[in-house]
Every structure is written in structure tokens, then in C-alpha cells.
Amino acid sequence: MTAIVHGILTMLKDHWFWGAVTLVCLTWYSTVTIYVAIRGIADIRSMLRRLSDDKP
């Protein structure tokens, strides 16, 4: 845990702009991947259900 906090502080101290963009990017991407993986399944199910209902 200490190593992670130290790593984050180093990223923000050493060229803070690109350190901050990289941190936000990795945090955002990890979170969105999990969220989209869960919500995307529901989207596929409802899409296929609507297409089935639509057919003659």
C-alpha cells in the first residue's frame, strides 16, 4: 500500500501534468471496463430480445 501511494506521489511530483493524466486515464479505464462489462451484457440481452419480438 505504501509503495502504491509512493508511486502515485512520484507521478504527481515528476512532470505532474502527464503523471496526473496517466493516473486519471488508468483509473478511468479500469473502472469503465468493469462497468461496461456488466452493463453491456444487459444491453446485448435487451437488444436481442427487441429484435426477436420485432420479427414476424
Binding site: 469503465v32 471496463t33 426477436s52
Partner: protein
């Protein structure tokens, strides 16, 4: 150096099997042309995000973004920040994409017919298809080069390996169209994202942020962090990339296909807004891999072509298991890109280029047959042009031409179509002609004659000029047409 183990092979095999089964199983939901081209317009937000992100990240993207990191440092990720800005603003405001989706068309040229008439629709279709097909012509070989370098495979197997991959992708795209593409894109997004995130954490853990920053400082100085201080970038590079990425956000066929497949324009806008930050990741993550190659490879290990530095570095540091995940992730990235490119460009050929042959309405069965045939023919083209035919010269320049030929004119036509009453077919024709001729002229001058050095040094400024002249052509052409003739062809102009 890590070679593929049984564990790696197992991970790759399971991923490919699941993708193929899912892609082929979806075919039973395809009954109409609208299902095939725009998924029956039933795509919701999260599926749209997964599909857009998976499509817009291929091995080619990874290679070039990493090369930018290697050659330009962190500043090389600036195109990602610009794309994020463009896509976020377009998503929030609905600029062009709202009227486009609300119009109910299946392709951009179909919208153009309402404003500029059938000839412009046809010409726009031809430009889009030419630009797009030539652009995607380099994908397969680049993908093969990455896999060969990262997994230390025998280069002799490159053609056979990528042919097998393309055939697999073509099978589910031909059978299931956009529905199969969306479902497989979802699987590919999950696998691709897991591979990208885990590999990046591994690199940050093994190399460390400090050494990455130090490597950029040593090799690129302040220009490695600030594009305006970088001698190979500067204001023209940033402005050109802002124009290029905004135009791509508005008209690039694979991106706009997600808006057109969305349930409604509000869903399409949400997909754009919520996917926009992915474009930062799309450039920064491979960029960090490229910087890691800069930090880790000795001068003797750096290949002559800096494009191959990143895969070579990955081949050195990835452990067994993770190598399998990375290759599965990159295959996922490439498959989703290939499938979507084949489908979305075939939809323009069917919907717009073949429009004059469909004066009498075709049956759904006949329409589906032709759509599937066109996807198959594009697959054959990709195989011959992209794999068995070796492109000579600089691939970046090649992508630059093919992209700008299409993007400058189509974005101008779309903006004018949506927001300028006086825009008409004279202006549209002038924009298409100048938008196609000028980038080709710049590239010819770059290769020949006394202008070579000047054009090479001012490439970004020349491309800004292409966008400016294309827009001016639209304005001048439209104003030159007598207003009494305005309604003769386009109907609404």
C-alpha cells in the same frame, strides 16, 4: 525473451473460440438489411461504448501511438487529448450527429442526397470507400508484424496467420453483420482492455515512472513533454491534428456507424460523450509502452524502424500467461477493427454506390445477399492488397493521404449540409474535388521536384491548407450557383 507457452496458447485459443461461436450464433437475428447494416437501430449506450472503443483500437493504432511515444515522448499523446476534446464537445452539443441520426439515414452520403442530390451522394460514396479501403489496406500486415515481433514467431507464418484471422472475422461479419460486430466487439473490448491495463501496470511496476520520465528528458528534452517545444510538432502539428480528429469524429465511417446504429440521437450522443476519454487512453497507454522501449532497449536492441521498438520491448519483459493475455488482447483489438471496417465500408458501397442500380426496391433477401457479397469482396481485397502486396515507403504518410482525401471534404459537406441553408451541389462538388486533389498534390510534391524538402518540413501547414481550401471551395461554389437553380437537384437547397 519470452516465447509462447501452452498456457498462452490456451488463453488465445479459448478467446478465439468464444468469439467465433458468439459471432456466428447472432446470425439468426438478421432478417432485414437494416439489421445487417445498423443492427436494427437497437444499440444501447454501454454496448455502443464497448463497440466504439474496440473498433477504434487496432494493432495499427497501438503500433503508431507507441511509435509516437518512442519518437516524441509524452507529447506524442497530444492527438489523443485533441480527439477527446472533439468527441466530448460533439457528444455534448450533438453538433452534426444529432441531425444526422434524426434524419433516419443509414450512411452519411444518404443524408447528402437530401441536400445536394443523387450525384453528390454517389461521388461522396466513392470518395469514402476509396479513402477507407486504401486506409485499411495496411492493417493486416502491421498486425502481423506486431505479433511476430512480440511473440518471436517465425515471420514466414505471418501471411498464413493473418489470413486465418481475417477469414474467421469475415465469417461472422458476413453472417451476422452489425449485430455480430456489436456482440463480438463487446467481448473484444473486455479482453482488449484487460490486456492493455494489466500490461501497463506491469510496465509501470517494472520500469517505474521516474525512469520513464528520465528517458524522455534524456532523448527529447522539454519537447518530450510539451508539443509546442518539440521541433517535430509545434502549432501546425497541433492545429492539423485538431482538424483531422474533429473531422474523423464527425465522419469516419466506423465512428459514425455507432451513431446511426443507436436507438436514438440521445443514445448516440451519450455514446460519444462517454467514450471520449477512451481516446486519451488509446494514445497514452501505447505511448507509455513506447517510452518504456526508449528506457529499456539498448542502442543495439533498437530496431531500424522505431515502429517495432515497442513489440520488441514487450517480448523481452512479459512473463508467460501475460504474453497470452496480451496477444489475445491484440487479436481482439485487430478483429474488432477489421470486422467493423469491412462492414461499415461495405454499407456505403451497398447503400450509396449501388443506389443507382436500386431504383426499384430490392427484396430484403436480395439486399442481404449483396451486403454479404460486398463484405466478402472487401475481405478478399484486404487479403490481396494488405497482406500479399507490400506497400513501399512511409506508412504514416500513406495513412495521412488516404484519411485526408476523405475527411476534409466529407466533414465540410456534413457541416454545410446540417447548418448552412445556401450550401448546394456546386459547392459540394468543388469541396469533393479540391479535398481529394490537394492532399494527393502535397504528397506528389513531397516525393518529386524542387519542393520536396519544403513540403516535408511544412507537411502539417500544407494539410491545414487542404482543410481551409476545401471549406472555401464549398462556400465559393455554393455562392456561385444562381439561387433560382438551388432546388433543381438537391430538393432542399
Amino acid at each position: 525473451m519470452t516465447s509462447l507457452t501452452v498456457l498462452d496458447g490456451g488463453i488465445i485459443g479459448i478467446y478465439l473460440l468464444i468469439t467465433m461461436i458468439a459471432g456466428v450464433a447472432i446470425r439468426r437475428y438478421v432478417r432485414r438489411v437494416e439489421d445487417f447494416i445498423v443492427a436494427g437501430r437497437e444499440m444501447n449506450v454501454y454496448l455502443g461504448i464497448a463497440s466504439l472503443a474496440a473498433t477504434e483500437f487496432g494493432i495499427v493504432t497501438c503500433m503508431y501511438a507507441a511509435q509516437n511515444g518512442f519518437d516524441k515522448g509524452f507529447a506524442g499523446a497530444v492527438p489523443g487529448l485533441l480527439t477527446f476534446g472533439a468527441m466530448f464537445l460533439v457528444g455534448v452539443t450533438g453538433f452534426c450527429i444529432k441531425p444526422l441520426r434524426d434524419s433516419g439515414v443509414m450512411t452519411i452520403p444518404e443524408l447528402f442526397e437530401k441536400k445536394y442530390g443523387p450525384r453528390v451522394r454517389w461521388a461522396a460514396g466513392v470518395v469514402i470507400v476509396l479513402g477507407g479501403l486504401l486506409n485499411m489496406g495496411v492493417f493486416l500486415r502491421m498486425g502481423g508484424d506486431f505479433l511476430v515481433n512480440v511473440a518471436h514467431l517465425d515471420p514466414d507464418y505471418l501471411e498464413a496467420m493473418m489470413t486465418a484471422l481475417l477469414v474467421g472475422v469475415a465469417v461472422y461479419t458476413i453472417l451476422g453483420g452489425m449485430l455480430s460486430v456489436l456482440v463480438t466487439d463487446f467481448l473484444q473490448f473486455v479482453v482488449m482492455s484487460a490486456g492493455l491495463i494489466i500490461t501497463t501496470f506491469l510496465i509501470l511496476g517494472k520500469v517505474g515512472w521516474g525512469p520513464l520520465v528520465r528517458a524522455v528528458e534524456t532523448h527529447h528534452g522539454a519537447g518530450g513533454f510539451n508539443p509546442f517545444a518539440n521541433p517535430t510538432m509545434g502549432w501546425p502539428y497541433v492545429i492539423f491534428n485538431a482538424l483531422l480528429n474533429t473531422a474523423a469524429t464527425l465522419t469516419w465511417q466506423t465512428q459514425i456507424a455507432r451513431v446511426l446504429a443507436a436507438k436514438d440521437s440521445a443514445t448516440g450522443r451519450k455514446v460519444y460523450t462517454r467514450t471520449s476519454f477512451f481516446f486519451v487512453a488509446r494514445w497514452l497507454i501505447p505511448g507509455i509502452w513506447g517510452i518504456a522501449a526508449l528506457a529499456l532497449l539498448t542502442p543495439e536492441q533498437v530496431p531500424q524502424n522505431s515502429l517495432l521498438a515497442m513489440p520488441r520491448m514487450l517480448g523481452m519483459i512479459l512473463p508467460a500467461g501475460l504474453m497470452g493475455l496480451l496477444i489475445a488482447a491484440m487479436l481482439a483489438a485487430d478483429m474488432s477493427t477489421d470486422a467493423s471496417y469491412m462492414l461499415t465500408w461495405s454499407s456505403v458501397i451497398y447503400n450509396d454506390i449501388l443506389a443507382p442500380f436500386r431504383r426499384t426496391k430490392w427484396s430484403e433477401k436480395k439486399g442481404l445477399f449483396w451486403n454479404r457479397t460486398i463484405v466478402a469482396l472487401i475481405g478478399v481485397f484486404l487479403l490481396i492488397y494488405g497482406l500479399w502486396y507490400k506497400i513501399e515507403g512511409d506508412a504514416w504518410t500513406y495513412l495521412g493521404i488516404t484519411g485526408t482525401i476523405y475527411l476534409a471534404s466529407m466533414s465540410t459537406l456534413l457541416v454545410a449540409c446540417c447548418y448552412w441553408k445556401r450550401a448546394n451541389n456546386w459547392g459540394a462538388t468543388a469541396a469533393i474535388v479540391f479535398g481529394a486533389i490537394l492532399p494527393v498534390t502535397v504528397l506528389v510534391l513531397q516525393k518529386l521536384g524542387p519542393w520536396t524538402a519544403w513540403v516535408k518540413d511544412n507537411e502539417a501547414s500544407c494539410m491545414i491548407g487542404v482543410y481551409a481550401v476545401t471549406a472555401i471551395s464549398m462556400v465559393v461554389g455554393s455562392l456561385l450557383k444562381p439561387q433560382s437553380q438551388g432546388c433543381s437537384e438537391g430538393g432542399k437547397s
